[in-house]
């Protein structure tokens, strides 16, 4: 009797595994490269992806001027602040407050700049990420100011530097003052606060403003991803008053959706890596069936065989993962910082680009892919009997025919055995090839389509990045020009900075589709106790605590022109848009006839009783008079015509409030305005291009503005410039996104090439047989071309259908600026073309490689 005792044969198996890998370097190279590629792809894509997300957050910080997620505006109580500070989900609570505005400097009589005060948390934690350069320090004493180059230029003092004196006349809640300030610091960076001075706490405390009514609390959450529910709970916990405004940034509101979109991309990338490894492992093990059969013939048990295969794969796997990660680290730590450096983006922390968790994640995912991917091939190798293995001839196995198909098959045979199959031979055979190897076909389709979809998705997001973050201008204008020649108290200050010639020059530009002008004329509102002007004075003095109502009323009665307002005329199309935004409450005909008007909100509450009420105003006719005739009045020696109009609605659009007059802005129809005055001033132009962001049109408009003698008093708002500013603030994102998408495309292509190389190896015998019965090499190339086109076509089809859906979903979930979904046609077409070319060329090249110059006989003998 023979005793079957176990013995320690591990060293033999390990030695054999090492030797097999060593002697079959070429065969294992494909597997090594595949694992390397997967580990590299995971590491670099996630590293670059996380950097991209960090840059994206940084860009938002820069867009908003400081790092916060929620703002509580119109004042706050100390209790509310305390409760926020104590909140477990809150990272920081900063205080920011407005405390006055500059009226003039000794170099400029109409300065538009504000005073802001921020507490230490705001300045040190929340504002810091948006600052790129800081000279000097934050104001400590009452007369110190922290400036930007922009605000100094607005004061006509751009040559000043830290330590210089700056006398300014400013207005706060206590009145109008002139002080000789000292510049304590100058900062450069991002945000809408660049036209403001920062002041000290001491200064703030003496301006008459208080945090309970004017302060702003800026809240930053600990997590970058917060649910809408958590935001709502925070809002409710504060017990806000009716005047307080709680505003979450749109970015944080969309943060979870963004996170899910990013996780979706991650899943696709991990799946892509798994498919890549599984496919090559499958092909690699099945290609060695004969060898494994031989080992079984020599007495190797199945268990030993499994151990041998596992050992081989892990040796190659560990080497592949190490090399892949090393390559990833080299590229991520050298390439990405280099790109960022070249673009001049300051991050202040070079370590940002290395994420240890990504390193661990990449290793784990690659290992899981190997563990899962190797199971099936091992089962196949272990289940094959030695005799079957020795007879194994590449892919000579029967194509998968299920039981159902077999039974149908016999029925069909009986019916018509010689039926003629239709269609071109090559296409038919190519289709059969794809059908008969469903698994391989699925792997190729999925990996190619996945690369294309990720490319599609990222290029769509990158392409829209600028547009997605630009706030649309009023009525989605491409360019807005405001006439900024007005001063507050001088009714005659308005100049014809935009005239009909200027307007027609703009209209004549090739790329301009439409121009809508807001025309206007200064008007006065006669004092009427308890009437409209009285109501307006009350509202105005509420906003200026240093003014008393009685003083203003008596000054108003003496000089109503100092409190002048504007009558603004708009065209029919502009009315339609405005009325639509008002909910269509205005009667169009009444408005066009000059019976009704729209009152512009001026910062204080307008009671509903004014809607439907008549208001009186005086329009200057332009004629100098000594005595005003009946129905007319004399203001500053000019004849004025008295008019009445009914207020139909109140508009809150800032666009119509872009003026410095104290009195009301009344929006009427252009026709009505022109019936009162034949030559109104043009106050604003709303320009729409035939093609948004058209640089040529933009340049022509700017040239016309430059040639205008009033060009210093023309205020321009350009959608293109806004987009460029945002692109600058997010520079690096475009490049990193492009690197990721190209990398994934490359990985998809390499996966296809790898799969095809293996497939050709497996089909070598079939091709030799085909040649032996008369198929020429040219015909084989035709067949392979058809197969390549089918692979490419299938992948492109999946990309254009499923991919468009996925891209649309991800785009919309990140689209917190509500811009339209546009497919980046050119890059997508290029990628599709590239995939087509690679798909067609690869099988032909790999076929040539497998055939080399050997005769059919030599190739057939390999399998005898």
């Amino acid at each position: 009797m023979i005793l079957m005792l176990a013995n320690n044969n591990r060293p033999v198996i390990d030695k054999l595994a090492k030797n097999t890998v060593r002697t079959n370097k070429r065969q294992f190279l494909i597997l090594f490269l595949t694992i390397l590629l997967s580990a590299f792809m995971l590491f670099s894509v996630f590293t670059i992806g996380l950097t991209y997300l960090d840059l994206s957050r940084l860009q938002n910080t820069r867009l908003y001027g400081s790092e916060y997620d929620v703002a509580v505006m119109n004042g706050f109580t100390e209790d509310q602040k305390e409760s926020l500070v104590r909140h477990s989900g809150v990272k920081s609570v900063g205080v920011l407050a407005y405390c006055g505005n500059v009226k003039s400097s000794d170099s400029d009589r109409s300065v538009s700049a504000g005073f802001l005060w921020g507490d230490e948390t705001y300045w040190e934690n929340q504002k810091a990420p948006a600052i790129t350069e800081m000279k000097g320090h934050y104001p400590q004493t009452r007369n110190e100011l922290l400036a930007t180059e922009e605000v100094l230029e607005a004061c006509g003092k751009s040559s000043l530097s830290v330590g210089d004196h700056l006398p300014l006349t400013y207005e706060d809640n206590t009145g109008i003052h002139t002080t000789d300030f000292v510049i304590s610091g100058i900062w450069k960076g991002y945000g809408g606060d660049q036209a403001s001075f920062y002041v000290s706490k001491d200064f703030y405390e003496q301006t008459g403003y208080n945090l309970e009514s004017d302060g702003i609390l800026q809240v930053k959450f600990k997590s970058n991803y917060v649910t809408g529910k958590a935001i709502e709970e925070l809002r409710e916990s504060l017990g806000l008053s009716s005047t307080q405004v709680f505003q979450a940034s749109e970015y944080i509101e969309k943060s979870l959706a963004i996170l899910f979109a990013v996780l979706g991309l991650c899943l696709m990338i991990c799946l892509s890596a798994y498919l890549l490894i599984y496919n090559i492992l499958y092909l690699s093990v099945s290609g060695k069936i004969r060898y494994y059969g031989l080992l079984q013939t020599l007495g190797m048990t199945k268990k030993q065989l499994v151990r041998l295969i596992r050992k081989q794969i892990w040796m190659v796997g560990v080497a592949g993962i190490t090399a892949g990660i090393a390559l990833g680290i080299t590229i991520s730590l050298i390439l990405v910082p280099y790109v960022v450096k070249v673009l001049g983006i300051s991050l202040g922390n070079a370590g940002l680009f290395f994420y240890p968790e990504v390193l661990a994640f990449s290793i784990v995912v690659t290992m899981i892919a190997i563990v899962c991917g190797v199971r099936k091939p091992i089962r196949i190798a272990a289940d094959v009997t030695p005799v079957e293995a020795v007879k194994y001839r590449g892919n000579m196995a029967m194509p998968h025919v299920g039981k159902k198909r077999q039974s149908n098959l016999y029925q069909r045979m009986a019916k018509d055995q010689l039926k003629k199959r239709t269609g071109n031979l090559y296409w038919r055979m190519a289709k059969d090839q794809l059908k008969n190897n469903k698994k391989r076909t699925a792997v190729v389709f999925l990996s190619l389509a996945m690369s294309l979809i990720v490319f599609f998705c990222l290029t769509t997001l990158i392409d829209s990045q600028g547009r997605r973050t630009v706030y649309p201008n009023y009525w989605d204008a491409d360019f807005i020009i405001h006439n900024a020649t007005q001063t507050t108290e001088d009714i005659t200050s308005l100049q014809p900075a935009i005239d009909e010639i200027f307007l027609s020059e703009i209209q004549k530009i090739e790329g301009v589709e439409e121009v809508h002008a807001v025309k206007g004329i200064p008007v006065t509102f006669p004092y009427d106790k308890n009437g409209f002007s009285d109501f307006w004075i009350k509202g105005y003095t509420e906003m200026k605590p240093y003014l008393t109502y009685t003083d203003v009323v008596s000054e108003y009665q003496r000089n109503p022109e100092k409190y002048y307002g504007m009558l603004k005329g708009i065209d029919e199309a502009e009315f339609d848009y405005l009325n639509e935004n008002l909910g269509g409450i205005m009667d169009k005909q009444e408005f066009l006839n000059g019976q009704t008007a729209i009152l512009q909100y001026a910062g204080f509450e307008i009671p509903k009783k004014w809607i439907g009420n008549n208001i009186s105003f005086s329009v200057p006719t332009g004629h100098p008079v000594t005595h005003a005739p009946t129905g007319r009045e004399k203001i500053q020696g000019i004849e004025n015509q008295k008019q009445k109009i009914t207020i139909g609605a109140v508009s809150y659009e800032d666009y119509y409030g872009a003026s410095v007059n104290v009195g009301a802005n009344i929006i009427v129809s252009e026709t009505y305005l022109e019936s009162l005055t034949p030559t109104p001033y043009i106050l604003s132009l709303n320009i729409k291009y035939k093609r948004s962001y058209d640089t040529e049109t933009e340049k022509e408009i700017k040239n016309i503005i430059e040639a205008n003698p009033y060009h210093n008093d023309l205020l321009s708002i350009s959608k293109y410039d806004d987009m460029k500013t945002i692109q600058d603030s997010q520079s690096g994102m475009f490049e990193t996104g492009t690197v990721i998408s190209l990398l994934l495309l490359l990985v998809g292509m390499l996966n296809y090439i790898n799969t095809m190389a293996n497939s050709m190896q497996n089909r070598k015998l079939t091709f030799s047989i085909m040649e032996s019965v008369g198929m020429s090499k040219k015909q084989i190339k035709c067949l392979l071309t058809c197969e390549g086109i089918l692979y490419a076509g299938g992948s492109v089809f999946i990309t254009l259908t499923v991919g468009t859906g996925v891209t649309w979903f991800i785009f919309q979930s990140m689209n917190y600026m509500k811009i339209s979904f546009t497919i980046p046609v050119f890059p997508l077409l290029c990628a599709i073309l590239l995939v087509m070319i690679i798909c067609v060329i690869t099988p032909i090249v790999t076929y040539k490689k497998t055939v080399r110059n050997r005769s059919i006989t030599e190739r057939l003998r390999e399998y005898e």
Binding site: R393, N395, M396, A397, M398, P399, V401, L409, R412, M413, Q417, L418, K420, R421, L425, M429, D432, Q433, N436, T766, I769, M770, E771, S772, V773, G774, M775, S776, K777, K778, Q779, S855, I856, T857, E858, L860, Y863, E864
Partner: protein, 225 residues
């Protein structure tokens, strides 16, 4: 006098394996007449298959000439050789070499389809009936027995009505009874369609069924030129 359809002159084929040169054929002069049935015998590695491959246009000689049906195969380019294999020669291999992705019918008509030729359905029907595979047409090669696969290979070789049939140990994987059946069939069909038949075999019984037997040794013809 019957026409010579195959003629080789000083035909040599050398293979290089590492630093060694293997002489597979060494100056073979060999002729086969039209409609003749020739069997080639000899030990393993004597050059039988190499000679058949040269005649079938599957390989090129190192020196000498191979003329089949008036065509000098050594002077043909790859494209012309493919056409020759498709139209003039029908090859039957010991391993059958059927295309695994195609069913029996498609395997048989494959050379015709490569030529975009119209399939002579009546002829194919007659062929598959003669070879007893009429009920296997939609099956894939791996669903058939060895004998059935070999019969499909014969049908494929005959489908284009070639002038010459070349069979490399067609019975190598079959039992004795099936072997005799297959060779018998080949002989009947070759006679029926007036084809020349060259068969390589180890089996002397089969060799004796031929009109003439040629023996090869060390790449040279020893008997029956």
């Amino acid at each position: 006098m019957e026409k010579v359809i195959v003629k080789t002159n000083s035909l040599s084929k050398h293979y290089h394996v590492g630093t060694h040169t293997i002489i597979a054929l060494d100056g073979v002069d060999f002729e086969v007449k039209e409609r003749e049935f020739v069997s080639i015998i000899g030990k393993s590695g004597c050059g039988k298959s190499t000679l058949l491959h040269m005649i079938g246009g599957l390989d090129r000689p190192t020196s000498g000439t191979v003329i089949v049906d008036g065509m000098d195969l050594a002077k043909m380019n790859e494209e012309q050789l493919a056409l020759f294999r498709r139209r003039k020669a029908g090859f039957i291999f010991q391993q059958y070499n059927l295309i695994p992705d195609l069913n029996v019918y498609d395997n048989i008509t494959f050379p015709l389809e490569l030529d975009s030729a119209v399939v002579d359905k009546e002829f194919i029907q007659e062929l598959v009936k003669t070879l007893h595979i009429a009920d296997k047409l939609e099956m894939f090669p791996s669903m058939l027995s060895g004998g059935e696969q070999q019969r499909v290979a014969i049908a494929r070789a005959l489908a284009t009505k070639p002038a010459i049939l070349l069979a490399d140990e067609p019975t190598g994987n079959l039992d004795t009874s099936a072997s005799h059946d297959v060779v018998g069939l080949l002989k009947v069909i070759a006679e029926k369609y007036q084809q020349t038949l060259i068969v390589i075999t180890h089996d002397l019984d089969i060799a004796q069924m031929a009109d003439r037997t040629v023996r090869l040794q060390d790449g040279k013809i020893m008997r029956g030129k």
